[in-house]
């Protein structure tokens, strides 16, 4: 029995000692939770490690849980934060964390040249490398959609698809419409979408595939989904919605980086934020399949996409959208269920 007690005691003490040792190395480490796809974010974080010598400990999200696993972890860890930085793939989650008191302000020197509309005025989050919400359109179609209102145009009945608005960037898009049009008009739009037999897919990726396969003519997706299919040689093209005079413009969703309140490695966290907000990082994220649109002037956009200054962007306040998003989720859930 004594042996059993000793073994049990040792098995509890060893991890404790190992943990104590690791605490001594904390100053050389930064912990980051990442919602941006790992395939794109990991090379950037490795570059940071190479440049600064600071070890990056990352947790990446998965497509299966709609990139919300790390958000749940951040919220659950609120009272004893383990992360220093959160790299969100859109700014709404950053706003939600701000509202839940999980982030703290940090005004990076590299954020100065990023347009104001892509960052929180108090410095709770800063946007960089954006995606646009664009139409992916099958090239076999003679006509092209031009506006989000084409979802309710009878001529496109049964020919268009959109990702489940309960999750991800489609929620943001619908929340943006609520802030721009008001509840009545947006609800009318949603009901008419149903009448127009718009298919609800599980994700933007699936929507893009359905259009690329020719099952549907168009879908609103993130620009990286569209660029990815173009690079795969699929017969699709990109259309920026609502670019004409008097139209609402295209929704732009930058990545957002936040410093966690009570971050165990605050200094290293700030260094990582500076790095992520640099033009060099934006250049990295503009290349290859990632295809993100840089927000700094003078950084080349991906060849398939327009420069941010040449897109008529939606005039929205991300804070308002985040607020609206929480408010409209039950409405959207009901809309999906019926």
């Amino acid at each position: 029995m004594k042996k059993f007690t000793v073994i049990l005691a040792i098995s509890l003490i060893i991890p404790f000692l190992l943990n104590s040792c690791s605490k001594r190395n904390r100053e050389k480490t930064v912990v980051v939770y990442v919602s941006e796809d790992r395939v794109f974010s990991e090379p950037v974080l490795k570059e940071f490690e190479k440049e600064t010598g600071i070890k990056v400990k990352a947790i990446y999200d998965t497509e299966e849980n709609k990139s919300t696993g790390v958000m749940n972890r951040l919220i659950a860890e609120k009272n004893n934060p383990q992360a220093d930085v959160y790299w969100a793939n859109e700014p709404i989650r950053a706003e939600v964390l701000k509202q839940k008191g999980i982030s703290q302000p940090y005004l990076s020197k590299n954020a100065r040249t990023i347009p104001d509309k892509f960052k929180d005025k108090d410095g709770y989050w800063t946007g960089f490398s954006a995606r646009a919400r664009v139409f992916i359109v099958n090239k076999n179609s003679k006509e092209k959609p031009e506006s989000i209102l084409d979802y309710i145009n009878p001529k496109w009945k049964g020919k268009c698809v959109i990702a489940n608005p309960l999750f991800g960037t489609t929620t943001t898009e619908i929340a943006a419409l609520f802030t721009l049009w008001g509840k009545e008009k947006t609800m009318d739009f949603l009901e008419k979408m149903k009448e127009n037999k718009v298919l609800i897919s599980t994700s933007n990726g699936e929507s893009a595939d359905l259009v690329a396969q020719g099952d549907y003519t168009f879908s609103l997706v993130d620009s990286d989904d569209a660029v990815n299919r173009i690079k795969q040689g699929k017969g699709v093209e990109i259309v920026y919605p609502d670019q004409k005079e008097g139209e609402i413009g295209t929704l732009i969703l930058p990545n957002a980086v936040i410093l966690i309140k009570g971050a165990p490695h605050k200094k290293e966290g700030e260094k990582l934020i500076d790095f992520l907000l640099s033009p060099e990082t934006e250049q990295m994220l503009a290349k290859e399949d990632c295809a993100q649109i840089p927000l700094h002037k003078g950084v080349n956009p991906p060849s398939q996409l327009k420069e941010i200054s040449k897109i008529k962007t939606m005039n929205i306040d991300y804070f308002e959208i985040a607020k609206k998003m929480i408010e409209i989720q039950p409405v959207l859930k009901k809309w999906i269920e019926n």
Partner: protein, 525 residues
């Protein structure tokens, strides 16, 4: 005294890491600023949509369980009782889907059955259309979940069938046909095992989320997931996961009604087992099994392998993922070991009436198994992420705790069969001779339950190795396992990278099978 101390220590650990975190979450879901608030639960009960999706889940899991039992028991009989050629190889092939994350399996079958998949290239457009239509919604979910979960029924039934006293079957064979012996002797003896396997499959299918979402079939677990992921509302999400309690109670009630109290299974290692001679049916049965193996099990893996080519790509992915491989093996082995010994000691306590409330033990082990990983993961965070226990939360111990809590059920139930088969006189004799309990444990109990321990360990390892959610929520930053890595890269990763990771995950899941076979020296599990 010392027997009780050991058993209550393990029971205490299980309560601490398994039950308390979930209870903490449940308490939060019923407590509001004004005290106890059951409005969330009342809203759930009065919501028509919740009932609809609950019924969908129930229908899906019942159908999957029924089909898994049919295929699993049939293949178990073929592979353990007959003279079918290559039956060990077939056992291995038919078990493959269990080693692959279900989400990847869904994507692989999409490549075969989907609109532009393999079927559209090798068959007529009308057949391809039927396939693509079939591989969606309810039918697609049932198809994929049956392929994924029927190996559990097959392997457990085989383990039970191999433990039947051969003399019983031989005696019956003197006057009866094999068909009658199977129906009247063998199957009734292993009934408890089949019921246990059915329970596992039912609970796994009821909690399955990835496959129905892929197939666009609305199920109940999506509700809890939605409130975690879209609303960040932990209280409601937890409340939405509690109907699993009713499912467990129902499962236990059914089990109590149809399962026998005591199994007659005993080990007969040296006895020669009677074999069903398939005679003239041998070639047609072999052809059918070979076709099924190639079509339903080898084809998706072949597809995965082709996508992972060239081999240099596979090796490159392996060298990049060495840390994940190491973590998967280490966490899988330690997690499986921890769940196995915890389940064994709790099972021993229940079998020997040291733990008085057998029903409570069964309920709570089923409860921690069936509760969604997100709920238990967040429960573990809220309980262990503080100054006092941060040495647990900041190390891999937290994942081991999660694995132990979740998979104790497997070992608890399987090892109880072995424990029940040891005549009490053996332990009594050792006690009279002055042996203490730990010595009796080492010399009598563990050797006689070796096979059950090994089977539990292997099943727990497979479950631990393919688990992504719990790991994502609890593993310290900077670490990952292959299942998490695979799901990470499924978002925009190249096809060859995902396929290579799939092949590596499959191979790593097989790691403990080889030493287990060496330990058993060619005996059947």
């Amino acid at each position: 005294m010392e027997k009780k101390t050991v058993i209550y220590t393990f029971l205490g650990i299980f309560v601490l890491i398994g039950i308390l975190p979930v209870v903490a979450m449940l308490l939060k879901s019923v407590l509001s600023k004004n005290g106890i608030d059951l409005s969330l639960y009342l809203n759930i009960l009065s919501n028509k949509h919740q009932w609809t999706v609950f019924f969908n889940s129930f229908k899906l899991s019942i159908t999957t369980t029924a089909l898994s039992i049919a295929f699993g028991v049939l293949s178990a009989i073929l592979f353990s009782k007959t003279n079918l050629p290559l039956k060990r190889l077939f056992t291995f092939i038919f078990s493959i889907p269990l080693f692959i994350p279900s989400y990847l399996n869904a994507v692989l079958w999409w490549e075969i059955m989907g609109k532009n998949g393999l079927m559209s290239k090798i068959t007529t457009p009308s057949i391809a259309k039927i396939c693509s239509h079939f591989y969606s919604g309810f039918s697609g979910s049932v198809f994929l979940m049956t392929i994924t979960y029927s190996p559990i029924v097959m392997l457990l039934t085989m383990a039970y069938l191999n433990s039947i006293n051969p003399s019983m079957e031989e005696a019956a064979l003197l006057t009866s046909s094999w068909k009658r012996v199977l129906l009247k002797i063998s199957i009734p003896i292993v009934k408890n095992g089949i019921i246990f396997a059915a329970m596992i499959v039912f609970l796994l299918s009821f909690g399955e989320f990835g496959i129905p979402v892929f197939m666009k079939y609305p199920v109940f677990p999506t509700e809890s997931f939605t409130y975690f992921s879209a609303f960040y509302n932990f209280r409601l999400a937890t409340a939405l996961s509690t109907p699993v309690v009713f499912i467990i109670l129902l499962v236990l009630l059914i089990e109590k009604k149809i399962a026998k109290q005591q199994t007659e299974i005993t080990e007969y290692p040296n006895a020669k087992k009677p074999v069903i001679n398939l005679k003239r049916s041998k070639i047609p049965v072999f052809t059918f099994i070979l076709f099924s193996a190639l079509m339903f099990y080898v084809l998706p893996i072949l597809l995965l392998f082709i996508k992972s080519l060239p081999l240099t790509n596979l090796f490159h992915t392996l060298s990049d993922s060495l840390e994940s491989v190491k973590n998967t093996i280490t966490l899988g082995l330690i997690g499986a070991f921890s769940a196995t010994i915890t389940g064994f000691f709790i099972g021993y306590g229940i079998s020997k009436n040291i733990i008085q409330k057998r029903e409570s033990g069964d309920f709570f082990t089923l409860f921690t198994f069936a509760i969604p990983s997100t709920v238990s993961g967040i429960g573990l965070i809220s309980l262990f992420n503080n100054g006092l226990t941060s040495f647990i939360y900041n190390s891999s111990l937290i994942v081991i705790a999660g694995f132990t809590a979740k998979y104790t059920l497997i070992s608890n139930r399987i090892t109880r069969i072995g424990i029940n088969s040891i005549p009490p006189s053996m332990e009594e004799a050792a006690e009279i001779e002055g042996a203490n309990w730990l010595y009796t444990l080492k010399k009598i109990i563990l050797p006689l339950t070796k096979k059950q321990l090994m089977a539990s360990f292997l099943i727990c390892y497979v479950f631990c190795a393919r688990e992504p959610e719990l790991i994502m929520l609890t593993l310290p930053a900077g670490k990952d396992t292959l299942s998490v890595r695979l799901l990470n890269y499924m978002a925009n990763g190249s096809e060859s990278l995902i396929a290579s990771l799939g092949i590596i995950t499959l191979l790593i899941s097989l790691v403990p099978v080889i030493p287990a076979m060496l330990l058993l020296k060619g005996e059947d599990l």
